[in-house]
């Protein structure tokens, strides 16, 4: 039976506000249920209690002695007060007693219905405190996946590369033609001096032309190489961007599924909280139990195949040897049940002989299954309680499928 940290943060604030005397009865009732489950809040509660009973009076007295608007009493006024005190004590007449009904820690929840509207406001303000204190669960995680930069320009780069390759090819052709022409004059008649001079001039021109072309070719080739490099790197970047986009998408899916789980868990908690409020408001038995010194409260959780704790399944309010109130949720929503069945609770003790505690009935709202047992003899000898499916009307001994089982700790976990 794991702890039930319903709305812990809101209760942290309620714990602090408890000693202001400004909690509504319903808030106080819900807080007590939470304190039964939450060690951290219980420790805090004790700390605030000690703070309120001891430290704050010291601080208030110190602040009072610092105040500059205090009324002054003469020695004779104090002597007179002392005389009155002694007279009062001698006569044994009770002092002007505050007409305050004796209040114990057992603040029975009353008028909770009237408080309902107020509570809604109260809780929502507490909720605000919580929200500003902690960053809330992301409701709609959206991640903008930007298109990989550079991909858009890829086409241009390819065109440029083609152009450069063409230019290199043209230059190579021109160079080959120039070499051709250079070699041609050698085959011309060597006797023709004029021709030779002209040839030599032409040769020089061709050499220059060739030199220029070679330079142009080299530069074009280096451009080509750099374009190739650039294209290669932009492709790598594009690949990286694509991988990143994929991982972001995966993360987004994860976040969404976490969000869904959180929402489901939250709606379960909300459901339980709503039920708590409901039975505080309507159920006189629970109102009377809350505040009992030896009250034990436990939630029973269903466990699914994965071993994960699933929905809360039942809640037990138990005061040893006096009273047991058992709430079951969704008992009838079990798979494989016949149309008309009864849910019967059994208590068993060290003698292993289960005793029927009675049949569950559905409450007026049909929201939950309820079972009450106030039989002191039965309660005194049991340390375990379980629920079985039985034919309508119940059985003398447990015969059907066991739905839930809870061991009753004898240590009260309530204040």
């Amino acid at each position: 039976m794991p702890v039930n940290p319903q709305f812990h943060d809101e209760f942290v604030a309620l714990v602090a506000l408890f000693h202001t005397g400004e909690l509504t009865d319903e808030e106080w009732g819900l807080l007590q249920i939470h304190l039964a489950f939450c060690n951290e809040c219980r420790l805090r509660f004790e700390q605030y209690k000690s703070l309120t009973s001891k430290a704050i009076p010291e601080m208030a007295a110190s602040a009072a002695s610092d105040a500059d608007d205090l009324p002054w009493e003469s020695e004779s006024a104090i002597a007179d007060a002392e005389r009155r005190l002694m007279t009062q004590l001698e006569q044994g007449t009770p002092p002007k007693v505050q007409p305050i009904a004796p209040k114990s820690s057992r603040r029975v929840v009353a008028g909770a219905l009237a408080a309902c509207a107020l509570v809604a406001a109260g809780l929502s303000s507490v909720y605000l405190i919580r929200n500003s204190a902690h960053s809330p669960v992301p409701r709609n995680p959206t991640i903008a996946v930007a298109p990989p930069t550079g991909v858009a320009t890829q086409g241009e780069e390819e065109q440029e590369l083609t152009r450069a390759q063409q230019e290199v090819a043209n230059l190579k052709q021109l160079l080959a033609a120039a070499k051709d022409r250079e070699s041609q004059p050698r085959s011309v008649d060597p006797n023709l001096k004029h021709q030779l001079d002209a040839n030599s001039l032409l040769q020089q021109q061709l050499a220059t032309e060739r030199e220029t072309l070679s330079q142009q070719l080299a530069s074009a080739q280096s451009d080509l190489q750099s374009l190739r490099d650039k294209l290669l790197s932009s492709q790598t970047a594009a690949d990286q961007q694509a991988a990143r986009a994929a991982s972001l998408e995966a993360k987004l899916r994860d976040l969404n599924s976490i969000l869904n789980e959180t929402n489901t868990a939250l709606s379960d908690k909300e459901r339980i909280l709503a039920l708590d409020k409901d039975f505080l408001a309507h159920d006189r038995d629970i109102r009377e139990l809350i505040g009992a010194r030896d009250l034990y409260i436990a939630d029973i959780f269903d466990t699914n195949e994965a071993g994960k704790t699933a929905k809360p399944f039942g809640r037990i309010f138990y005061t040893k040897d006096r009273s047991l109130v058992f709430y079951g949720f969704d008992l009838d929503k079990q798979g494989g049940l016949k149309q008309s069945v009864a849910f019967q609770a059994w208590g068993s003790g060290s003698d292993k002989q289960p005793t029927s505690l009675g049949l569950f009935y559905q409450d007026d709202n049909n929201k939950r299954w309820v079972l009450r047992c106030n039989d002191a003899t039965t309660l005194a000898r049991m340390n375990m309680v379980f629920v079985t499916v039985e034919p309508p009307g119940g059985s003398a001994k447990p015969t059907g499928k066991q739905l839930l089982r809870a061991f009753l700790q004898m240590q009260p976990n309530h204040l």
């Binding site: 430290a55 009076p57 010291e58 208030a60 602040a63 002392e82 209040k103 605000l128």
Partner: protein, 222 residues
């Protein structure tokens, strides 16, 4: 054990010296002298022990010693002289009846008197503010839970705590804490007074109190 108690008894109140009362008392400090009679100013703790045995004289000394502190503390919360006077009477009747429950190991006698005064005054104030049908638990030695004792700081200096806290709180937080805790205003009244929402005031109060809590309980852990 006596030494421990004395170590955290706060300075005697100003009134004590004015009274200048001396009571004959047996002094236990020296073992060699079998029984030495000395004149000493009785401590609050000693007086409370005597009150617990039914001594009216000891109650009178305690009254004269603490009358003004009790009156001022009550007046600050109740804002009415005759209410404060009534509350003082009631507090000392409580002291006369419950002195035997006072335990010097849990705190000084003066602290105990201040606590009894403060809690009665706050309850009275809440009663007078009829809008609150709900009261804090009346201060009652019998009801202080044992568990709280273990975790509570043994030595409390109200002035020192206030000074340290005032450096850590915003003006709003400090004002809310002081009006509510030292002067008994409800959070709703503070909201009306300052033209703030109740939610805001609750928030200030919660922050301030949480600071105070961690201030008092975190040093304990270390």
């Amino acid at each position: 054990m006596n030494a421990d108690v004395i170590a955290y008894v706060p300075n005697e109140l100003a009134e004590a010296s004015e009274v200048g009362e001396a009571v004959v008392s047996r002094h236990h400090l020296s073992d060699d002298a079998s029984s030495v009679m000395v004149l000493v100013e009785p401590t609050d703790e000693h007086l409370l022990a005597l009150v617990g045995e039914g001594s009216r004289d000891a109650l009178g000394v305690l009254f004269r010693r603490h009358a003004r502190t009790v009156f001022h503390l009550a007046w600050r919360i109740l804002r009415d002289e005759s209410e404060a006077d009534d509350l003082r009477q009631e507090t000392f009747i409580y002291i006369a009846e419950r002195a035997q429950l006072y335990d010097a190991e849990k705190g000084s006698g003066a602290s105990w008197i201040r606590q009894a005064t403060y809690h009665r005054a706050i309850d009275r104030r809440r009663y007078l503010d009829v809008r609150q049908h709900y009261n804090s638990e009346e201060f009652d030695e019998k009801r202080v839970p044992i568990t709280a004792e273990h975790s509570s700081p043994s030595s409390l200096d109200g002035k020192a705590i206030r000074d340290r806290l005032s450096r850590q709180l915003t003006a709003d937080q400090q004002q809310t804490l002081e009006l509510h805790l030292f002067e008994g205003y409800s959070l709703r009244e503070i909201a009306e007074k300052n033209g703030q929402t109740l939610g805001n005031v609750k928030h200030h109060y919660y922050r301030a109190l949480e600071r105070l809590r961690s201030h008092l309980f975190s040093q304990k852990r270390g």
